[in-house]
Point group: C2
Chain length 395, copies 2
């Protein structure tokens, strides 16, 4: 029987009522004649609440113990969803990441899935059960519990879909698909009917929350189509799949990030750069790193999101690398589209538009899919609106 993998985010299972609505949707999919595997995140703000508890105990908790703590969240959500399905007469069983065979690297709090051995999931599907799997978590080769970082449940879903040779991977959230910008910031943003893996990956890396970048990379490698939908209400969707390239240079969307830290080496001393990168390798393995070329020499941007102990790291860096300057409160805005930097026109236009929001552009980075600009965090939303109005084409 064809297999469908569904993933539901934390806001979709935030309380008993919403867990019931998800159970209804899963039951309907099962009744349509598919084997269904459901990947769930922790309920609502559980992960943030557990993290806050940990910080009250230790400003710099062990990442191994953080994983032990945080992985409890999905366990609660999956057991409750399984009970809700059984209550509806749909036989279901829940499995932890470890029981589902999600094998990861041992990089605690930001592990990568290296292999999936879904034998128990397959056994239960053959018995006609819906299988509920804890998202965001796995087990390392050292038999330690690991977590995959923010958005990791998407990656769990895609990796399982690949290992199970699923017909489709459906990602449910509180947004009905992928939009050309965050509709809360840009009211005229429109839903993209379809988008390529590469564009989706760049949008996600540039800060779009709807799909996780590593998940999209996985889907691309295995050729799995992703369907991004709302868990309730709106029936619209965005399909992410391999397809004919768009007109080069066309901009499909705009995304942004805040909570960034800019590390600048004004002098460009090679020894200092090496020290800095070594320090980051051991201490900031969980942090996304972007390299920017700015008007002030080599610079490097860290996202604080997965970096659980920046205060300590900042002190270490400033002690070891005296030439570095550390600027917090930085944001980034990006325009995404295949071949966007084929001509200088787009880069020049992006800089011009963002400068109108904030004359102090701190850095520019380009790739064949993306133009990103660094600026003061407080100016990000205005810059997003200007970029969207000036650069995103009509449907």
């Amino acid at each position: 029987m064809a297999i469908v993998v569904q993933k539901y985010g934390g806001s979709s299972v935030a309380d008993v009522e919403r867990i019931g609505m998800v159970a209804d949707r899963v039951a309907a999919r099962k009744a349509s004649g598919r084997d269904v595997v459901v990947v769930v995140s922790a309920m609502g703000d559980t992960t943030d609440e557990l993290l806050a508890l940990a910080r009250r105990i230790s400003p710099n908790p062990s990442r191994r113990e953080l994983d032990m703590l945080l992985s409890a969240g999905e366990r609660i959500a999956m057991a409750l969803l399984s009970m809700a399905l059984n209550e509806r007469g749909v036989p279901a069983v829940s499995f932890t990441g470890s029981q589902s065979g999600i094998i990861t690297s041992d990089a605690h709090t930001n592990a990568r899935i290296v292999e999936v051995r879904p034998f128990r999931v397959q056994d239960e599907l053959r018995r006609g059960r819906v299988v509920i799997v804890a998202g965001y978590q796995g087990v390392s080769y050292k038999r330690e519990v690991t977590t995959l970082g923010r958005g990791g449940s998407d990656t769990t879903a895609v990796a399982l879909a690949a290992a199970l040779e699923a017909e489709a991977c459906e990602i449910y959230s509180d947004v009905a698909g992928v939009f050309s910008a965050d509709p809360r910031v840009v009211p005229e943003a429109r839903r993209l009917a379809e988008i390529s893996y590469e564009e989706m990956q760049e949008l996600a890396e540039a800060g779009a929350r709807v799909l996780n970048a590593q998940a999209v990379e996985f889907a691309k490698d295995r050729g799995i189509a992703l369907y991004a939908r709302a868990a309730t209400g709106d029936d619209g969707e965005t399909v992410v799949r391999r397809h004919a390239p768009r007109a080069p240079g066309r901009v499909v969307g705009v995304a942004s990030e805040t909570g960034l830290v800019l590390l600048r080496l004004a002098g460009g001393d090679l020894g200092e750069l090496v020290s800095l990168l070594e320090r980051l390798d051991t201490r900031a393995a969980g942090a996304k790193q972007l390299r920017f070329d700015g008007p002030l020499g080599a610079s490097l941007v860290l996202s604080l999101e997965n970096l659980h102990d920046f205060a300590a790291l900042r002190a270490e860096i400033q002690a070891d690398v005296p030439g570095v300057s550390v600027l917090e409160g930085v944001g980034a805005v990006s325009a995404i589209g295949a071949g966007i930097n084929a001509s200088y026109h787009n880069v020049r236009e992006a800089v011009r538009l963002v400068s109108e929001a904030d004359t102090n552009v701190l850095g520019v980075a380009t790739s064949s899919f993306r133009i990103s600009l660094l600026l003061e965090e407080a100016k990000v939303e205005d810059a997003v609106r200007r970029l969207h109005r000036g650069m995103v084409g009509d449907a």
Copy 2:
């Protein structure tokens, strides 16, 4: 190096501050030159809160999924305690029941420990770390997560102490030792300096909360001394160990239970009794069963405590076994002491004392360590006070 196993109950780790106090106590024990293994329960009312969530979703949740849900509680507590120790400069690592090698039967929500394979615990002790272990949970031979029923963390501690050949097993709770009755009910109750395994086991089975009966049985089988202490404040303790028998017939304490259900077969039809027991075997495996001889024929008492779905079971029993009567709202009071039923004097005296509280004694059961009487739940506290005043000897 000598190993000490400590167990802390849910009220001892109910919030961040109390977790810090436990960490201080563990750190002091480690500094005294012992290898320390700490077994923790879930924080405060976590288990009851998770159970309430489950009941909102399903009146009769799958016991397998209940175990998945409830085992999340200890995982949170153990990770936070490990962080608190690391924060104090004491290297610590936390393990789930499964990682600690706690192998159990597959009787979900009421599993029994069948074997302990503490290889990872021993490895970490050799590295000089304090090892924190999730109480109350294990893994079955079928690789399913199981829980041990109420008080199961005590059992985890004793089983680990036995497997590790520990020097001592210290059980910390909010009470400083074992008392001759619950001091909240009987203000003149006194702490017992020491008590035999058999008496402790009977006290626990009769409803004393301070130590779990299966844990005491484990300790007896392996000859491990148990030290019951308060997690904070009072330095008093009770030692449970093998020792010279007391004067036969002396009563060491009084205990009670409420929330019982009395099943009565007035006619004494053997076929009906067999039907009833079969039904209970499959559906009430988690419920403690006591057999009583009462004035009204054969009867059987179930505790609702571990019975997650009595309403359904009641309907089934009444459909299958028409001759049975089901009486809820029943309590039991017990007097405990080695050789207590050597003469009829003690039984007669117990019945007389309890009759003064409730003329309607529903049943009497005796063993060489215990005299138990069934009565209306509402009369239990008064009966406990009368039994204690009339039968428990002075220090």
